[in-house]
Symmetry: D2
């Protein structure tokens, strides 16, 4: 049994980790921390978990965390980077769901997150936890930076095209939309049902923190710089990310449907839909799965890729468990066999 700790258990990625780990036969959750809710039973906060956990939230205790085989950070940015150095030193492996270790360039990180990085020396040691790209490095990693939700959906959509050099790496356009759970479980007027239901809007169009992560990841695949215009939108739904990706084809392309199917043939959690079928966020709700379609409208020179994930699963907690499975040599699908809840 892998002994697991969770730092920051009261948010949506925390409860989602608990949901997935309850179904994972190889894991024992030893501690789940929350300063605000310390002492409260987790199933009181999240009644869907009644019967699955006897745990209460605890103050973060470095000794208890260091005794774990793996600690998940399900925290806002700027928490993990304070605690990770000590835990790594104690031999505990880390999967960080926050943004702290996603960007290799500390200066770039500081520019987007507005503060200095607390452990910049670790950035070079962190492995970016997108298994479809970095599976081998993840196996040995002590510190995995789990990708953001938008970056997961967007990178999986474009990787086959950029890896094959089929599209112009500048001028990439990503119009993406997220369910409200992506904004976390925080009391903000903007996220009230009365402010969001029955409506749709873009936000962060002038610059969203996921942009440098997307450009870094795609640049690695393309073998050179890429430039992405990224406009996120807020959907009046709880779960789901949908990315609509546009790129300019450099030449008359091969059979893109076949190319995508080949590219992801062995990936357990990336599913290229049959030609003519377009993805919906609902078909992956609750599942650790990315579903993709590729189209060339009007046979012109713009290729459109559509990519959906559940932001809390393949976009966060499910991918975190997938990383854990790889790190500990477990079957990659362990605990992740949940089928999308449709309807």
């Amino acid at each position: 049994m892998i002994r697991v700790g969770i730092v920051g258990g009261t948010g949506y990625t925390g409860v989602e980790l608990l949901r997935l780990l309850a179904m994972h036969e190889g894991v024992e959750v030893v501690t789940i921390t929350s300063r605000a809710e310390a002492g409260r039973r987790v199933d009181e906060q999240f009644p869907n978990l009644r019967g699955y956990y006897q745990l209460a939230f605890a103050e973060p205790d470095p000794g208890v965390l260091a005794s774990c085989d793996l600690v998940f950070f399900a925290t806002p940015h700027n928490v993990a980077m304070q605690l990770v150095p000590e835990l790594l030193a104690a031999g505990t492996r880390i999967v960080d769901l926050s943004a702290d270790y996603r960007i290799r360039d500390a200066a770039l990180w500081s520019q987007w997150y507005g503060e200095p990085h607390a452990s910049p020396d670790l950035l070079a040691h962190a492995v970016y936890g997108l298994p479809e790209v970095n599976r081998e490095q993840i196996r040995q990693a002590q510190l995995v930076a789990c990708p953001g939700c938008y970056p997961t959906a967007i990178q999986l959509g474009w990787i086959p095209l950029l890896a094959r050099g089929l599209v112009a790496p500048e001028g990439l356009i990503a119009s993406a939309a997220s369910g409200a759970s992506g904004a976390g479980r925080q009391a903000k007027v903007d996220n009230l049902l009365s402010e969001t239901a029955g409506s749709f809007k873009a936000y962060g169009a002038a610059g969203h923190r996921h942009l440098p992560e997307i450009e870094q990841g795609l640049g690695d695949v393309a073998g050179g710089p890429v430039a992405v215009t990224f406009v996120p939108h807020l959907l009046p739904i709880v779960r789901g990310i949908h990315a609509t990706l546009f790129a300019r084809l450099l030449a008359s392309p091969p059979d893109l449907q076949a190319l995508f199917e080949d590219y992801y043939r062995d990936e357990p959690f990336v599913d290229v839909l049959p030609a003519g079928v377009l993805p919906q966020t609902r078909t992956v709700k609750g599942a650790n799965r990315c579903q993709l379609s590729v189209i060339v409208p009007q046979q012109r020179d713009t290729v459109v890729v559509l990519s959906v994930i559940d932001n809390l699963v393949k976009g966060a907690s499910g991918q975190a468990v997938q990383n854990m499975n790889i790190m500990f040599g477990l079957p990659e699908t362990a605990g992740l066999e949940q089928i999308g809840l449709l309807p």
Copy 2:
């Protein structure tokens, strides 16, 4: 392995059976029928199932169905009662999710469903598949009539009070609300998103087909006739039933919280919430679970019970699998360990 057939696979209870059975290690789905979609792969219709089934919908074939150990009917009423006699004769056991065998009195059935019953002689042999009431009879049953969604939520809420004789059996009042999936996957203007989203309404207030089923079941528990005023409402959500139940206390009651907790202590799928916590439909979404609260507002003489289920799980397909497990001597929770998807 139990060989299972499903008649009527294109509706919401059909796809939900497939979702649950895919996670059930003791079951093989042999056939799933649909006249309208015969030949089409089930995962083309329901892309959440991609990777879990290779099946295509088939025309109903009596020989294939008769070769099954169990056949689920996930059909509108008036289908099962045509086919069940032949299948029973062949030794196939039946779990009927439709209304055909829920009401013991054929005349009453005809009055509410507007046509004669096709196999009235079987009504006496059918077991009403509410395990919390009829678990022992279900074990041996050849034909189980799976309860309706509203009747499940409502009966589980009132049973402890009626069984103990604590409330007046006449004058029971049930104000209940269902997600739109309860109306099925049928093309009707009234069920369009544009007709239902952002709105709430009562329907069937003058008489809903679940009323006689509710009164029959509660009458059995109370040991005499009960009279229920039942007003269903349509919620602008996909899944979930919430029942708000009012009854007049006959005397100063005992500790109702303790009574409910005791009554359901050994039930794996009925969860009495702690005092002061009220249920939400979202905490049971996707789970085979009923969550209950009991309150006596202002310490007056009206007791309020709140009861929630997922109409497609404990209100239909999950309860059907629960019945199957009991009939075949499997652990009652097999395939039903799904945790509610929150948020």
Copy 3:
């Protein structure tokens, strides 16, 4: 032109007052106050108002408010009762949308609101602003206490029955549901879209602050005490209240459809639907209208009344404008001709 001030302009009843008053030809909005947003243009906060107002939010200025003909309080409770005495003394008339002057008994008010009343001597002078009951008193009133949203929907549904003595005044049961805007524009986790969308729940079942107001109002109509069991629920929609009301008939009733139609024949904002048509919250969205149905299911002894309003219009700001019109001798429908937004 009536010179109007609004205290507390940043909430939903504030913006709704502005929407309605922009269409009202006899009104000039002189000031709208908000300490938190002082200096910010109202159309920056509420872009739907762009082009209709040049105002910015202002600190509350007693002199400016006292110079108004009418001041609306669109505030939480415990604000109006601090300021109203001074304004009344200056001759300014008041429509208070908050709870401060709804309950005549100061001790009862304190019991439910948890603090002493700041101007209990004014309670006897306040007129309860339900025009269908108190139109004549409203004409002369200096201080109108605008009814709560649930109390409006519930009282309008039961008044014809209680006024005629047709139902038992004890044992009244109200199962009602409100859109999330009823909870106001406050940053609370419980009101996030991610906590409420796709779900339904009861709340305040042990006792909601609207209960004493409902019982007071209905008691006045019934000519004696009434007892109501009131269970409110939260709908995952923005606007709308639906009340499902149950009462025990004291005798075989007259033609209730005709009774309701007669009772409300001359009311401009109460609409009894034809027999067989049930109300929906969406048909009154944005409109100052209550739509009602009355049914006796199974011809038993329980009568069901269904009542819908838009909680922000007939349940708050529209009713406030209706009261203003009556107080100032304007046509009662002035500024209130908005048609429900369907779909």
Copy 4:
């Protein structure tokens, strides 16, 4: 008083016309046709209209329609083009909300709509009813083809840039999303709440019928061919269109905020939001208004325009009334002063 007829009154654009015209003091609705609902009162179908209309739906009667000053066609395509020639001959003016006269090239129309055009000779006489482009021609027009919903939002967003020659006319990218009412009031499984709520998807990505209309209109403005990649999406909301528009700047641009504000300064229904404010569909709900923002993310060479409308108002019935006002010399805003319903 303008005598108005409406052909096709049972859909969403029909009821929306009725809502707007009820508030229009210069119009009398003489007839509203529906073969399916002939004889049924319109306020029975649409209870929000109770008290505003005494009309019943009627069979289309050419004599009655010809007696009108103006006939609106609120029909699917292929209805207006059958009846318009006769009505024009009788001197009746037409505003067609359907697609029949939007595309000048009959062959192109046939290619996208799959049938020959029934009155191709009229295409040259029809005026494309986007007042912001064609106001002068609309004044004299006998036949106005009201723009589609997506084309309205998209063209208004790009027109200032294309008219000034600031962006590359090829490689335009439009990612747009519509509420479900855009699909009309038709019984289709795909539009059920259970199929769409809580989800998001693209559709028609390989080619949507609004594409040739968009390219025709923008080509006129640009003075030469344009090429648009247009991907529409379905939002789980009732009303609203949001277009996210991407174009490549040809040179370092002028102050685009000032350019947009200048361009639309005199337009009553196009509202350029202040810099830094992004539009939301909810702020224009029920209003005949387009709100726009323009951004250049990261100061790179891609300009993003965000454009929102209510698809049933500025995207259909409101724009139709706006055209009528222009055609009959009325104030352009008559009947269109509705403020967006927020929240």
